[in-house]
Structure formats: structure tokens, C-alpha cells
């Protein structure tokens, strides 16, 4: 992936799949959900490494092999009934490398089908255009307090400038990034801060998306990150003049 600067359509299928899985896992305790999402994410990476998906059909087959989000959720929720509490120590969660995602705000659609990919393609070309424009970093803060030696690979947005943000002493050992694409910057800020995360925003011109609306986010919705991590938003500044 190092040679691909932006998320490919296939990456977006994975993002969407994980978003659906995250939605299906709502009833699971947060730490279990994050743990599971991360394992599934890794599993998909391993499958792709073993046999790269060349097109949407390949990716569709790969995701089918992983299973329907509701099936995985059903298996996971079996654990909840007799284990109301997340008894075992919270598992360390590798923080996924930051990505630009176009995960839609609604993630209730069933498993992605190849027929749905054309809209992704259009959207990704659009996005590539946006992101190719000059990126303006507005504000960000990074307050990662928790670090243990078994925390996995870290990643933080590279194009963000730390500033001050009040650190919220939240109890969970990690947080799930909300899906905020399509929301206004104000709505997204509320949603993100309510989970104890900080907001970094970047503006980018867009002919298609009204000014002030979130074009993409990083990490993707459904990702899990240490408390007080930064979620970087790309916000439309309206049509380029």
C-alpha cells in the first residue's frame, strides 16, 4: 500500500465492510468490539497479502469468505450473554495507520456488492481531486496518554499540527471513532469530542459537497484509537474559485 497515496476503491470496500461490522457490533462492550474489529481488519489484510484482490469481484469474494457482518456479530454476541463484563484485561489495540476514508454516514446497507462499486469509483475520483488540492491544516491536538509495550503499531496523522485541546479524562482505555462523513464540521466536532477524541480539520475545495461538510475522515469510522487521539477531518470549503 505504500505506493498508493490514497485509499483505493478496494480499500473503501473494506472500510465499508468494517463500518457495517462495527454497526452490527453495537451491543458488544466497546473493548471487545474494538478488539474484534481489529482482528477482522488484520485478517482481511492477511488475506489480501496472500492473494491480492484485483477488482471488486475479488474483494467481494474475499469479504464473503470473511463472512457476513451479522454472522460475525451473532457469534460475538454469544459471548456477551454469559460475559456481561469485559472481565479479561482489555486487549491492547494496534492503532491503524491513518487513512482517508469515504465511508458513508449510513452503514446499514448489507454486504457490499460489486454492483455498488461504480458509485465508489466516481466518488473516489472526486476525492482524489479534492485531496490533490492544497491541504490546509487548521488545528489539532495529540494527547495520547496511554502507552504500553504491547500496544501495537501506532499511527498518527502526519499532516496535522498539534495545538491545545482540553484533555478529557475518559475512563475507557480506547475509543471508537464515530462516522462523521457528510456531517457539518460542527456536528462532527460534537460527535468526535463526545467520545473523548480531538478534532483536527483540514479544508479542501469541493464542487460537489457544500462548504462546511465533512468530505472524509481519518481514521475511518469504526476504528479504535487510544483516548484523546485526533480524528482528522477533511472539510469542504465549497467550490474552488
Amino acid at each position: 500500500m505504500s505506493d498508493v497515496p490514497f485509499r483505493s476503491d478496494l480499500d473503501r470496500m473494506v472500510d465499508r465492510y468494517l463500518g457495517e461490522l462495527a454497526a452490527a457490533l453495537q451491543r458488544l462492550p466497546v473493548s471487545q468490539r474494538d478488539h474484534l474489529l481489529n482482528e477482522i481488519r488484520e485478517h482481511i489484510s492477511e488475506l489480501r497479502a496472500a492473494q491480492p484482490a484485483r477488482d471488486a469481484w475479488d474483494m467481494e469474494a474475499l469479504l464473503n469468505r470473511v463472512g457476513l457482518p451479522e454472522d460475525i456479530a451473532a457469534a460475538a454476541l454469544e459471548n456477551v450473554d454469559d460475559n456481561a463484563e469485559d472481565a479479561v484485561n482489555p486487549a491492547p489495540i494496534p492503532v491503524p495507520a491513518p487513512v482517508v476514508s469515504t465511508l458513508p454516514t449510513t452503514t446499514t446497507t448489507p454486504t457490499p456488492t460489486p454492483t455498488s462499486t461504480p458509485s465508489w469509483s466516481r466518488r473516489s475520483r472526486l476525492l482524489a481531486g479534492f485531496v490533490a488540492a492544497i491541504v490546509l491544516v487548521v488545528a489539532v491536538s495529540v494527547v495520547v496518554t496511554r502507552h504500553s509495550d504491547d500496544v501495537g503499531p501506532g499511527g498518527s496523522p502526519s499532516n496535522v499540527v498539534p495545538t491545545t485541546t482540553p484533555f478529557r479524562p475518559s475512563t475507557p482505555s480506547r475509543a471508537t471513532v464515530p462516522v462523521v462523513i457528510g456531517q457539518t464540521l460542527a456536528q462532527a466536532t460534537v460527535a468526535i469530542q463526545s467520545t473523548g477524541l480531538a478534532v483536527g480539520s483540514v479544508s479542501d475545495p469541493s464542487n460537489a459537497v457544500p462548504a462546511g461538510e465533512v468530505l472524509s475522515q481519518s481514521p475511518a469510522g469504526g476504528s479504535f484509537v487510544p483516548p484523546a487521539s485526533v480524528v482528522t477531518l477533511v472539510v469542504s470549503s465549497g467550490p474552488a474559485s
Binding site: L36, I40, E46, E78, A87, V88, P94
Partner: protein
């Protein structure tokens, strides 16, 4: 029954040493014991909660660190017990099935 046996198949795969999640799932998948590979991860989580397996992170030569699963003493004991019971069960069922065919 298949699902119950699957747990012990996971434990059995760990009998000879630790493995990471993807390896475990791949083995089970190759043996056609699972169709939705993702459903194994909740099972692994349950085994971890039960104390049958424990996990540790290991650096990988390629890609991010991997979570390795290994059998605990409790897990080993549970597996040994299951193997004994399973063999007895198979013999009993085979006896009935074979007797049924002969009639």
C-alpha cells in the same frame, strides 16, 4: 455440535505451540470446518475470556505485530478431557449407526 467441537479444534491446533489468529483460521478453513472465517475471532475471544488460551504480541517480519495465541494449562486440560469424551462418543455413535445399517 459442530460449533462446540470447533472450540476444541482451535485448542488442538495450539497443542504444539503458539500460533497467530490468521494461521488458526486458515487451518480451520482449509479443513472446511468454517465458512465465515470472521466468526472464529469471537470464538478466540471467548477462549481467552475462559482462560483456555492466552495471547501475546509478536513482531512480524512483514506488516504489523501479530497477536499470538497459546494454550494455557486449563486449556490443555479441557482439550485432554474433550479428546477422551469425543473418542468415546464417536465409538458409541458408530456402534449405533453401524447396527442400523446392518438391519
Amino acid at each position: 455440535m459442530r460449533k462446540g467441537a470447533l472450540e476444541y479444534c482451535v485448542l488442538a491446533l495450539l497443542r504444539d505451540g503458539e500460533r497467530y489468529g490468521f494461521e488458526i483460521v486458515r487451518e480451520l478453513s482449509a479443513a472446511e470446518l468454517v465458512t465465515s472465517e470472521g466468526t472464529i475471532y469471537p470464538l478466540l475471544a471467548r477462549l481467552r475470556q475462559d482462560g483456555s488460551v492466552e495471547t501475546s504480541w509478536r513482531e512480524s517480519t512483514q506488516g504489523p505485530p501479530r497477536r499470538y495465541y497459546s494454550l494455557t494449562a486449563d486449556g490443555k486440560a479441557a482439550l485432554d478431557y474433550f479428546v477422551t469424551e469425543w473418542r468415546r462418543f464417536c465409538v458409541a455413535v458408530d456402534g449405533i449407526l453401524d447396527a442400523g445399517e446392518e438391519r
